[in-house]
């Protein structure tokens, strides 16, 4: 009998113990790793896995940046591959600390899905991939076609809205995973494949004969992609938000992973001093060590470095910066002051 009672007590403690939530930052520190939700099947340029299991890509670099800020080591990231359908549940239930999986910031996700979005890291728009010889050039040409679209995305909602608004009929072939869809498109099961344009650039390289396919000019939506965290932990939200801002600011001030040490010694600019933790108070207010943003820049780089490494002219994708330039160059990347 006593055994039974103690068993119940132990059980109750275990269950209620997990019920009392820790702050995300404490969880990360106690496990010494940031769990980052990324694209499961891989999106070239944004998140891919090489033969030895290492993740690389634009989204992955922001995971590493968060780890560099919180743990001082960009390599302390556990990646969790998530499909479009799994991603929000994984974040809501605490399976991942931060979701950086080419996820569009929408009002519905910000409210009903219980997400907080850090600043947009990539301004994108939805486009269409079609065969060059199909004669489909404008949106109107898509009338009466079959279109491959990933389910559980903003893409399928935009598609439905735009086609409906223009009175165009179409049939959607829907799958939760992008790989089978792309294969179906390659096999001719759909006339067009639609997703964010950056995704189209990357996924076109995976087709049997990429030169046969063209990306239509039409852009049918705004797709601001960025990291997100769950509601209820403002401290961690602030950290992720400012890790992104730090990469913007570093590009603006001309700080790179190579010159950051020199800048730190030589700079007289108090903006930079506060950002890099030479004057430690402002960074410590986040609950981070003073060198948190220094580590981000040192280990991962500024925004331009991250962009060029994964999507820039030296990569197969060569995506023009466009809106994704610093505001000083006419883009949309703008960091509030560290003060």
């Amino acid at each position: 009998m006593r055994k039974l009672i103690s068993l119940i007590a132990v059980l109750a403690i275990i269950v209620s113990g997990t019920a009392l939530a820790q702050a995300t930052i404490e969880q990360i520190e106690s496990r010494d790793s940031v769990i980052c939700g990324v694209n499961a099947t891989g999106l070239p340029g944004f998140a891919t896995v090489d033969e030895s299991g290492n993740y690389a890509g634009f989204d992955v670099d922001f995971c590493r940046a968060v780890a560099a800020a919180v743990l001082g080591d960009a390599s302390k990231v556990t990646y969790r591959g998530l499909s479009a359908g799994e991603r929000f549940t994984a974040l809501q239930t605490g399976e991942v600390d931060v979701l950086i999986r080419n996820t569009t910031w929408t009002s519905n996700r910000d409210t009903a899905l219980g997400l907080n979005f850090a600043p947009t890291t990539f301004y994108d728009g939805q486009g269409f991939l079609v065969r060059g010889n199909s004669g489909i050039e404008t949106l109107d040409d898509l009338d009466g076609t079959t279109i491959c679209v990933q389910s559980g995305t903003t893409t399928e909602l935009n598609l439905a809205d735009v086609m409906n608004a223009n009175g165009l009929e179409y049939e959607a072939i829907i799958n939760e995973q992008s790989d089978p869809l792309l294969a179906a498109y390659d096999d001719g099961a759909c006339d067009a494949y639609t997703t964010d344009k950056s995704g189209l650039v990357a996924q076109r390289t995976q087709l049997r004969d990429p030169s046969e396919h063209v990306i239509m000019d039409a852009t049918i939506s705004k797709e601001p992609l960025g990291p997100s965290v769950r509601h209820g932990d403002d401290q961690f939200f602030d950290i992720v938000k400012w890790v992104v801002f730090a990469t913007f600011a570093a590009e603006e001030y001309g700080i790179t992973s190579e010159n950051v040490d020199d800048v730190m010694i030589s700079t007289q600019d108090s903006n930079i001093k506060r950002l890099l933790g030479v004057e430690p108070e402002k960074v410590e207010e986040f609950g981070l060590s003073a060198d948190a943003f220094y580590q981000v820049i040192k280990q991962v780089g500024n925004y331009a470095e991250i962009y060029n490494r994964n999507l820039g002219p030296d990569t197969p994708f060569d995506v023009p910066r466009g809106l994704n330039s610093s505001y000083v160059d006419g883009g949309l990347l703008y960091s509030p002051p560290v003060r």
């Binding site: 269950v15 929000f88 809501q92 399928e156 829907i174």
Partner: protein, 575 residues
């Protein structure tokens, strides 16, 4: 035991050793533990939901879904509610499960008989099939049917395989003519009900008579004959009764390639906003002449090496009384000629190099090098004179005709308003979207085939086991009575095996139904797949979770209840 009974009965057993008391106490404790665990779970969930600020409750079901679904048994578009989207999912699950159950049972029985047969080859085929299919996970089989077999091997888009009015391609799937209830179906309904009542009466009467006379025979066939007879008579009577409404307008929307049929509510003779769509009017559309431009490069995907070949795979010669192909660029009219390989739908554009006004493959066109005429150089215009096509307006009051660039004098001939009308596939010339007819999508076929073959392998073993469980003496006795092999099986062995088959068969049916939730792997929009889309778009994961559990439970329990009723009827009555 002996020593315990030997004790004096006056000795009181202490409460902690009282078996009855302990039993009651243990059960109370068990219930308390379950309640505590449940309470902790509920507390945890409600706290988590509060922290995240996510949506709870079922209110979201009325919200606009916003996403498309590619197949639906009921009208659905993105403006429908989440609830309707999920209903579409449930119906799609039932659509694959019900047909799957029937096919798997038939295939299973066939394979079982093959495995029991004395024919060595049949026996081996059945054994290999069962042992292979039964031991491969279902997900892999679904993947095999969808991504390995069907999608890559079927022709795409307009190059669809064609068997008469049936088309098969990897974008739309299997498309075939399908009857549907026209607006005059109601005249026929009463006859159908009458036929059904009569058929049931005949069934019972024949059954009783056969039992009384102790004669073999199946009461089903006379009943079926009675049904067909009454239904057929009723059909013609209904046909005679049917009239179109006086104010029905049929018009052509040439820009969109559609025929509209509307009721002219305000009787002004033209189609306007006040008019309401009128369903299912069969018409024959006739054009005095019509033309559409075709970019030949687009139609030569199959024969890329010959740029000058053209094909209109979806057009049938019988639809045109006359057709000719002309070049848009007048300069080319002098240089080039057309050689039809299948008038007027396929042909080769050639340059008459030896000026014999006849196509000569060797001289006129070098097929091996692919030296032809670029599609950009010219366009072909297909003129059609006296175009006729039988079309039916569909449920929303409109249907598609091929889209012409220009046409003259379209006219409509309304066909008799038969209660049951056929919808024929209207296969477009350049896009993949098909209207009319009925479609079984590639996703559906892949899931159906995978579920059928997988479940049939289990059913086959159940049937085989049941047949083998009938004592050999039964067979020998019926042989001794002079029954043939067929009679032995149909009258003696199978009825006895049947009782053994039914209970395990029910679980296989339930398995198949639940396994249909793997349809998400082949893009089939069944209950689970739709729910996960709704979950993702609305964020209401907890309510959807409960809807899923409840939904599958209801489907399974209903299935199980109906089959158990049947089971109770077939079991031996023991007294």
């Amino acid at each position: 035991m002996a020593s315990r009974t030997a004790r004096p009965s006056s000795e009181v057993v202490p409460w902690y050793r009282n078996v009855k008391l302990i039993a009651v106490f243990a059960q109370i404790i068990f219930v308390v533990i379950v309640l505590i665990v449940l309470a902790i779970l509920v507390f945890n969930v409600s706290r988590g939901v509060k922290t995240l600020g996510v949506r709870t409750g079922f209110g979201f079901l009325a919200d606009r879904a916003g996403f498309p679904l590619s197949e639906s048994l009921i009208p659905y578009d993105q403006n429908a509610s989440y609830a309707r989207a999920m209903l579409v999912g449930v119906l799609n699950t039932l659509k694959v499960a019900l047909l799957g159950v029937v096919l798997a049972t038939l295939l299973g029985i066939m394979v079982a008989l093959m495995r029991l047969s004395n024919n060595w080859i049949l026996k081996q085929i059945a054994t290999v099939y069962i042992e292979t299919v039964r031991n491969i996970p279902l997900v892999i089989q679904i993947f095999f049917w969808f991504s390995v077999l069907l999608v890559p091997s079927l022709p795409s888009g307009v190059n669809a395989l064609r068997f008469g009015p049936i088309y098969f391609n990897n974008s739309s799937g299997l498309i075939f003519p399908w009857p549907f209830a026209s607006s005059n179906f109601r005249h026929w309904t009463i006859w159908l009900i009458l036929a059904l009542v009569l058929a049931i009466g005949v069934y019972w009467w024949r059954r009783r008579t056969l039992l009384r006379l102790e004669r073999p025979g199946n009461p089903f066939w006379p009943a079926a004959a009675a049904f067909l007879l009454v239904a057929a008579v009723g059909y013609f009577i209904a046909l005679a009764q049917s009239r179109f409404p006086e104010n029905l307008l049929v018009s052509l929307d040439a820009d969109r390639g559609r025929v509209n049929s509307v009721l002219d509510v305000n009787a002004n003779g033209t189609v306007d906003n006040q008019d309401t769509p009128y369903a299912t009017v069969p018409v024959i559309v006739t054009f005095e002449s019509a033309s559409f431009e075709v970019n030949p490069q687009r139609r030569t995907e199959q024969r890329k090496e010959i740029n000058s070949a053209f094909a209109f795979p979806s057009l049938r010669k019988s639809e045109f009384e006359e057709a000719r192909v002309e070049f848009v660029n007048p300069d080319l009219n002098d240089r080039l000629s057309v050689h039809y390989t299948g008038f007027p739908t396929t042909g080769i554009v050639y340059e008459d190099r030896n000026e014999n006004e006849r196509f000569d493959a060797g001289e006129d066109l070098d097929e091996s090098t692919g030296e032809g005429f670029e599609g950009n150089d010219y366009k072909l215009v297909l003129f059609i004179e006296g175009f006729k096509r039988r079309v039916l307006t569909e449920r929303d009051g409109e249907t598609r005709v091929p889209r012409f660039d220009s046409y003259e004098n379209a006219s409509f001939e309304r066909l008799g308003p038969s209660p049951l009308a056929w919808s024929f596939p209207n296969f477009p010339t350049d896009k993949t979207l098909v209207t009319g007819g009925a479609t079984l999508s590639v996703s559906y076929l892949a899931l159906l085939l995978a579920l059928t073959f997988y479940t049939a392998s289990f059913i086959a073993e159940i049937v085989r086991g049941a047949i083998l469980s009938v004592p050999k003496g039964q067979t020998e006795a019926s042989k001794a009575l002079g029954l043939s092999n067929n009679q032995t099986f149909n009258l003696v062995v199978f009825p006895q095996a049947f009782r053994i088959i039914i209970p395990p068969l029910i679980s296989q049916f339930l398995n198949l139904t639940k396994n249909s939730s793997l349809g998400i792997f082949c893009s089939y929009q069944e209950f689970f797949a739709v729910s996960s889309i709704v979950n993702n778009q609305s964020g209401a994961s907890m309510p959807i979770f409960f809807i899923l559990i409840g939904g599958y439970l209801i489907i399974s329990l209903t299935f199980s209840f109906l089959l158990n009723l049947y089971n109770a009827r077939t079991q031996l009555v023991e007294r």
